[in-house]
Symmetry: C2
Subunit: 144 residues, 2 copies
DNA sequence: ATTCTTGCAAATCATTTGCACTTTA
DNA sequence: TAAAGTGCAAATGATTTGCAAGAAT
C-alpha cells in the first residue's frame, strides 16, 4: 500500500518534531521509496505532477530540515549537485563513470567513528566513495 | 631551492606531454608545495601576485588538463567547491566540521581497485572521506 | 602558418536569500 | 493571532563557454 509509506513518512517527521506538512511528507516518502540518491531537482521534478505548486525552495528547505534532524544524509559524490540519501544502514556509494548512476554497496570496512585518526582528529562520520564501471555498463560494453 | 620544484613541475608536465607554459608550471608548482587541497579560487588568488594577468579560466583549464592526465585528483569532499589534490600516495581525507580544513590522513583500508563490489560493479577509484573535529579545534574547545 | 594556450566577458546552473502570502497550532 | 511553512523572484557564486588575441612549434 502506498498509504503505509505515507504513514511511515508522517511518523518519522512527527517523531523528530517536524510538522508533517503535505510537502514534507511527499518529499520524505519519495526518498524512502526511491533509494536512488536523487538530487534536489530530481525530487522537485518527480513531485511536480502531484504537487503542482511545489517550489524548489521547499525541496531545499525540507532537505535541510531532514539533514539537521539526521533523517537524511547529504552526499558529495557528485560534484555538480547535492545528492541525498535516506539513512537506513551504513553503506558505501559507487558511482558509475559511464552512466553516472549511483549505487549503494554493502561492503565491510573499518569503522573509524569516534576514533582518532592521523594527527588526533576525531572522526564523527565516514564515507567510502567508489568509482568505476557498473555491472550494467560492463555488459553493454561487452556486446560492442 | 624553489628552482627545484619549478623544475620538478616542468618535468612532470613534459613527461605527460603537456606544454609547460608559465601558468601551468606555476599552478602545478603551487599544488606540489601546498598540499592543502586548494580550491580553484585559492590557487587563483595565491598566484595573482606572481602572474597578474592570470585568469580563473586558465586555472580551471589547467586543473582539467592535470586531472585528465592523472597528475591531480579532484575531490568532492567540499560540496561548495572543487578541491584538487596532487597525487602522491593513496590516502584518506578528513574534513573538520568546525574549521572546514581538510587534512590528509594515512590509514589502512581495504583496497577495492580493480575488484568487483556489490552487484558486480568494477571499482576503478576509491576515496575514504572522514568528517569530525580536528585536533586543533578539539584543543580550542577544551580551553573554553 | 597552423595549432595550442590564454583570458576576458557573458552564460549557465545549483543553491540561497528576501519577502510576502498561506497555513497551522 | 502568533509562529511556522511555503514559494516566487531575485541574488549569489562556482564553473563553463564563446571567442578573439597571443604564443609556440
Amino acid at each position: 500500500m502506498k498509504n503505509e509509506i505515507t504513514e511511515k513518512a508522517k511518523n518519522i517527521l512527527k517523531k523528530h518534531g517536524i510538522q508533517p506538512s503535505v510537502q514534507r511528507i511527499k518529499i520524505l516518502e519519495y526518498l524512502l521509496i526511491n533509494r536512488t540518491h536523487p538530487s534536489a531537482d530530481e525530487i522537485y521534478r518527480s513531485l511536480c505532477a502531484e504537487l503542482p505548486t511545489l517550489s524548489k525552495t521547499t525541496v531545499y528547505n525540507t532537505i535541510e530540515t531532514l539533514v539537521e534532524k539526521g533523517i537524511v544524509k547529504p552526499l558529495n559524490i557528485d560534484s555538480r549537485e547535492l545528492r541525498v540519501d535516506a539513512i537506513i544502514e551504513p553503506h558505501a556509494h559507487f558511482r558509475c563513470m559511464e552512466c553516472g548512476k549511483i549505487y549503494d554497496v554493502e561492503i565491510e570496512m573499518p569503522d573509524y567513528i569516534n576514533k582518532k585518526v592521523g594527527d588526533g582528529h576525531l572522526v564523527k562520520a565516514q564515507d567510502l566513495y567508489l568509482e568505476g564501471i557498473c555491472n550494467s555498463c560492463l555488459k553493454k560494453n561487452e556486446k560492442k
